[in-house]
Amino acid sequence: MLVNQFLILAALLFSLGVYGLLVRRNAVMVLLAVELMLNAVNINLIAFESLLQTELAVGQVFSIFVITVAAAEVGIGLAIILMIFRNRSSANVDDFNLMRL
């Protein structure tokens, strides 16, 4: 197995995540897209670890931290979305004018 086949898949998932981030209006959907990007990071890390075989399996350790942080952030995000929903019964990012300068 070449390392590039994994890296290109990761690049694809990352770019899909960016696409989702740009087009989605719903906050939950934006979060899903970000999860896709973080998953691409994990694929990268694991593939590199398998390529480099570091002494402490640093790549795998890193990806465990990424998974943990992502889980914590999803919890935070859903709490925020829930709070907003209580106030206005909508979870659309666009109702908040995200790009106002």
């Binding site: 890296l7 990352f14 995540g17 981030l21 906050a27 934006v30 979060l31 970000v34 990007m37 973080l38 691409a40 990071v41 990268n44 890390l45 593939a47 590199f48 390529l51 480099l52 570091t54 640093v58 790549g59 350790v61 890193f62 931290f65 990424v66 942080v69 914590a72 952030e73 935070i76 995000g77 709490a79 925020i80 979305i81 709070m83 907003i84 209580r86 106030n87 206005r88 990012v93 908040f96 995200l98 790009m99 106002r100 300068l101």
Partner: protein, 496 residues
């Protein structure tokens, strides 16, 4: 395989951890009326956390743990001191603001303390993983604190915006970091620095450039540098004001520190990629931040844009030195001096905003007209902090600007001079809008109908915060050596 743990070196973090746990327990056992004890516990805990810093500073030297991935040297101590003092001021500003039923005091202080802990960890990080986790712990509690006024739609918006852009910047930064790991096989800064030479030379240069750019973009969001700044004004306006103060000082400083140590310690070999990016970010942040600040009517939004512009000024020394290829140690010390002075005067400005908002009952600059006529002391303090932000001697801000320009002059070169010219023009523009606030306070007549309580006296804790920030701003302006000590101390990092 065992690791020696130097407990004195991590004593500030340990004291903070103990405080965090104590605040949680207190919040659990105290009746509603006595919740303010959590505030006292937090303030005391942060004060105690500063003591080991002094011992370590007197002791000197560099203490490394865990294969050097966690290092306590004078540079880390200076920044930890900055984070603790700034955190202390924010806590003092919070006490009177957060008191009241709807604010969940215990949880509020818990989250602020967690964020301070994150920034302390980050100041010592010499490793991608420690840096990443420290940065996340610094920012993640703030996503929630920005929305702490739960019923307020603007606060909700602030929280959601900050959260989505925070998570996005994390994802971008992590992708960049994963590429750096893949190219060097290391996560420690030392290992990356040694491994990066080969990567920069051969076929891997494209990947390295992309990795560096992704990391810079990620940090650009965290420090709200143009063009990644659009979340900042809305978030600053919507969040509770003490949280805004924290966002504009601690979390911004943490982002800066993370970016600088990563670029300087791990990626100096890739400076041909990040130096131009920093140059552009510096120039754009100063210009766009200032131009937008000119149009603002709301004082918090004005401070938001001013902090974007100040971030641009802070980037100048580093960008200039890196672009011209000179030694970065001078730039490092200039940035640290700027960061320290900016933190103090900006916190002072926010403390004035909190006190003034109660008196005037509005956040509009026009509504602040005549504040000096019915509260001279607050008016004077406002003038001190805003003129200091504008960089007028003999207030601390002039020295920040001075070291910034001095380091640019040392660097030399055409692109550097161009940056210096942009910075100089922007300093003049900035003076205009800072002075507008002071003019409104002192020269305009007070509106006939008072929206707020003009006789309101700020709570003791807020007054203490105002006094500390005011004294430091004046003192550093008169005796600039006080601040340059910090800058010189941070040079240790550059030397080692």
């Amino acid at each position: 395989m065992g690791f020696e743990i130097d407990y004195l070196a991590i004593a500030p973090e340990l004291i903070l951890v103990a405080t965090i746990v104590m605040v949680l327990v207190l919040d659990f056992v105290l009746p509603r009326r006595a919740k303010y004890f959590t505030a006292i516990a937090s303030v005391l805990g942060v004060t105690f956390a500063a003591l080991p810093l002094l011992i370590l500073a007197v002791d000197g030297g560099s203490r490394e743990m865990f294969d050097g991935s966690y290092t306590v040297d004078t540079f880390a101590l200076v920044l930890k001191g900055l984070f603790i003092v700034a955190g202390y001021l924010v806590l003092l500003m919070s006490v009177s603001y957060i008191e009241g039923d709807r604010y969940y005091q215990g949880e509020y202080y818990f989250l602020i303390l967690c964020s301070i802990l994150g920034s302390l960890v980050m100041a010592s990080s010499r490793d991608l993983i420690v840096l990443f986790i420290g940065l996340e712990l610094t920012t993640a509690p703030l996503f929630m604190l920005a929305g702490w006024r739960k019923g307020d739609m603007k606060s909700n918006e602030a929280s959601l915006k900050y959260y989505i852009l925070g998570v996005l910047s994390t994802a971008l930064m992590l992708f960049g970091m994963s590429l750096v790991f893949g190219l060097t096989g290391e996560v420690s800064f030392d290992g990356i620095r040694e491994g990066i030479g080969d990567a920069a030379a051969g076929d891997a240069s494209t990947a390295l450039g992309l990795a560096v750019l992704l990391i810079i973009v990620g940090f650009g969001f965290k420090v709200s540098a143009v063009p990644f700044h659009f979340w900042a004004p809305d978030t600053y306006e919507g969040a509770p004001t003490p949280v805004t103060a924290y966002l504009s000082v601690n979390s911004k400083a943490a982002g800066f520190v993370g970016m600088l140590i990563l670029m300087y310690l791990a990626l100096p070999g890739a400076s041909n990629y990040w130096a131009p990016a920093l140059w552009i970010m510096a120039a754009a942040s100063m210009t766009i931040g200032n131009l937008a600040a000119l149009r603002q009517q709301n004082i918090v939004r004005l401070l938001a844009y001013s902090s974007i512009a100040q971030a641009g000024f802070m980037l100048v020394p580093f960008a200039a030195a890196a672009v011209s290829g000179t030694d970065l140690s001078e730039a490092f010390s200039a940035t640290v001096v700027y960061l320290v002075i900016y933190s103090i005067m900006n916190l002072g400005a926010f403390a004035v905003v909190i006190a003034g908002a109660r008196k005037t009952g509005t956040g509009d600059i026009d509504g602040w007209a005549g504040l000096g006529s019915y509260d001279a002391r607050l008016g004077v303090l406002a003038a001190v902090f805003f003129f200091s932000l504008a960089g007028i001697p003999p207030l601390a801000g002039w020295f920040a600007k001075f070291v910034m320009f001095r380091s640019v002059m040392i660097a030399g070169g055409v692109s550097t001079v161009a940056l210096a010219v942009i910075a100089a023009v922007n300093s003049v523009i900035a003076f205009y809008y800072y002075a507008r606030v002071v003019k409104s306070i002192w020269l305009d007549g007070a509106p006939a109908t008072a929206l707020g309580d003009r006789a309101d006296t700020p709570a003791g804790s807020l007054r203490l915060a105002l006094i500390i920030a005011g004294v430091l701003t004046v003192l550093v302006g008169i005796y600039p050596t006080l601040a340059s000590v910090f800058g010189d101390a941070s040079r240790v990092l550059a030397a080692g």
